[in-house]
Symmetry: C2
Subunit: 370 residues, 2 copies
């Protein structure tokens, strides 16, 4: 066993140090991480055990020799999105309670900025990184795997990257979208617009083409679209490509797409919006068409906000557990920094469905061009 260890030595875990010192794992983690209270006697035992086993995490090396870091780096795609602002709040609450500060970089959904952001955080010697990556399905993510290889733990947030062997904290996007579309269908709707789908300049006229486009999308957007399609399938409603927006994702394009869908010979009678800007864009189109919700068209959107509650009528919305997402991502990362091993890779948190007054049955058939 000792010989094995010499040949392919792997660093001892925090649990092995704890066992050697005869203390609990949490106490060992606290001492080695340099945060929280540890009695001098306990501290001495843990440090002696760590030295005997050759334990050296980054955190230990930093806190004991090259200076304490105690900082988490967070990379979000767009800090202007209230969703990410809420998640960052959750991360910093949990980090702070465990003695870590949080620094944030925003990439504006650009992969080049994301690569630069990782460089900055590694350069600033953060102890770990939480990232909501701007990478689409087709993009290489060497900058993320390279960071892990350099010994900086990474947790993925909001957007899983399926071929990576990393812990991911996400919401039940697919289930939430399915439930929203299902509510429309239960109310009698069969022409349901989806704002927004995958941005693509390729023609999307079949389910197969849609699926191909989706595989090059953000993971979370793809999941929401799949949930929408699940609900249609369950109800035996055939997919109509004209009802899924494939333009670039901006509020203005959402307005144009919804206006177009409201003007079809068989117009949409319900709209599922996958972002705040998609929702406000859709509302602009509804108003500009001289229509009213929910009588002429029903609406459900991601993500809930104070504004959605004070609209008249108030909007039925999907609320993602932003704080909890942030809390969980920070916990997983901090446990890993403390030397724990990740066992569960995918952590899926439940969204809340907030029913207000923007969903009713479809209007009687109306002729749009009298």
């Amino acid at each position: 066993m000792a010989a094995d260890r010499d040949r392919s030595w792997s660093p001892p875990t925090i649990s092995e140090v704890a066992a050697e010192a005869g203390v609990g794992r949490a106490s060992a983690a606290r001492t080695l991480g340099g945060y929280g209270y540890a009695s001098p006697e306990l501290r001495d035992r843990v440090l002696a055990a760590a030295e005997k086993l050759g334990y050296r995490t980054n955190a230990l090396a930093r806190s004991m020799s090259t200076g304490i870091s105690h900082t988490l780096g967070v990379i979000v795609a767009d800090i202007g999105n209230p969703f990410f602002a809420g998640v960052v709040r959750g991360i910093s609450d949990t980090s702070r309670a465990r003695g870590f500060d949080t620094i944030v970089l925003s990439t504006h959904e650009e992969l080049d900025e994301e690569k630069a952001a990782i460089g900055v955080l590694v350069d600033k010697r953060v102890d770990g990184i939480i990232i909501a990556s701007a990478a689409l399905g087709r993009d290489a993510v060497d900058h993320i795997t390279g960071t892990v290889d350099r010994g900086v733990p990474v947790v993925l947030l909001d957007r899983a990257i399926e071929h990576l062997n990393l812990a991911s904290v996400v919401t039940d996007n697919r289930e939430a979208a399915r439930r929203a579309a299902e509510l429309f269908i239960q109310n009698g709707h069969r022409r349901i617009g989806f704002i927004w789908g995958p941005a693509t300049t390729e023609p999307v006229t079949t389910r197969r083409e849609l699926s191909a486009a989706t595989s090059n999308n953000l993971w979370s957007d793809g999941e929401r679209l799949r949930g929408y399609l699940d609900a249609l399938d369950d109800a035996g409603i055939s997919f109509d490509p004209a009802l899924v927006m494939t333009e670039e994702k901006t509020e203005e394009n959402a307005t144009h797409s919804v206006a177009r869908m409201l003007d079809l010979p068989a117009p949409i009678t319900a709209i599922l919006c996958s972002e705040t800007d998609a929702t406000t864009g859709a509302l602009r189109a509804v108003r500009a068409s001289g229509l009213r919700y929910p009588d002429d068209v029903s609406i459900i959107g991601f993500d809930d906000s104070s504004w959605a509650a004070v609209m008249d009528p108030p909007l039925t919305m999907i609320e993602q557990p932003m704080l909890e997402l942030g809390n969980r991502a920070a916990e997983i990362l901090l446990d890993e920094i403390d030397g724990g091993n990740q066992t569960q890779l995918m952590h899926t948190l439940e969204s809340r469905f907030i029913e207000r007054s923007s969903v009713t049955g479809p209007p009687p058939l109306r002729s749009r061009n009298p």
Copy 2:
């Protein structure tokens, strides 16, 4: 002159280095800052001049010996406020164009977190700091002056601190609030609620007591209240303390305060809201009272958003130049990092008044308890 210099030596400026090297100030700044293009010949001349004069900025020391930092730190009170998210975008756009990355910390309006945040940024060796301080009028700001004393340039954002000798980039809060109140008055209103004023548990029954409370408030909040009072004074309307909210600043308290003001024997007929949460809180109270805007009560709020434009009717709002605020603060800080001297301390940018449909004349006198 040389003797004078020896006795009280002050570091040479970037302009002196440029003159010595016979190059433009921008070229010298680029070379010494280590960003952008400089030909080898130009670079050599600038560095020789810098050495001769003993020029050593932090940026130079870092880029030439201890490694390049090229990072700005930004401390905002609440990254969940879309206003700050927009400002951060402006900061990072300008920084990026000049070769700097931006890292952000959010303090949740808590001074202790702000002090910790400054410690983190100094520890991470940022080249300068932009801060929207959570300090109230009564708070000591040694953590800010101490940072400047250690040679890290600081620019104040959104909230001036009047006794500090630092560049501040703010909006015309007082003028914007005055203009909003004036529009109400021009439409015939005389009972105008202000949500929110200074949070205080002291009784506020006189103008003097209000003024005392305001001096312990955030600078920007105080300015908005002063603008509201300016408009009342100009119109000869006497101040009524019952029309200024002094509870802690939350959406829920805004709802309670507006409900109370709508229920006064002489109720308010217009509401000026100084934050997004104040605006949504006010709208909840209006709806709960069975009233409609603008027919029963007129509304104007800070800050504009997509949601305000899709409300029915759309809201008249004040839009602060968020991107421009961020751009300007970054420019000033980067110029200072490059060795420039600040001459102008207060930079006040203009807000935009966006008139939509939430302001009309006051309703005919109504009996609120029939």
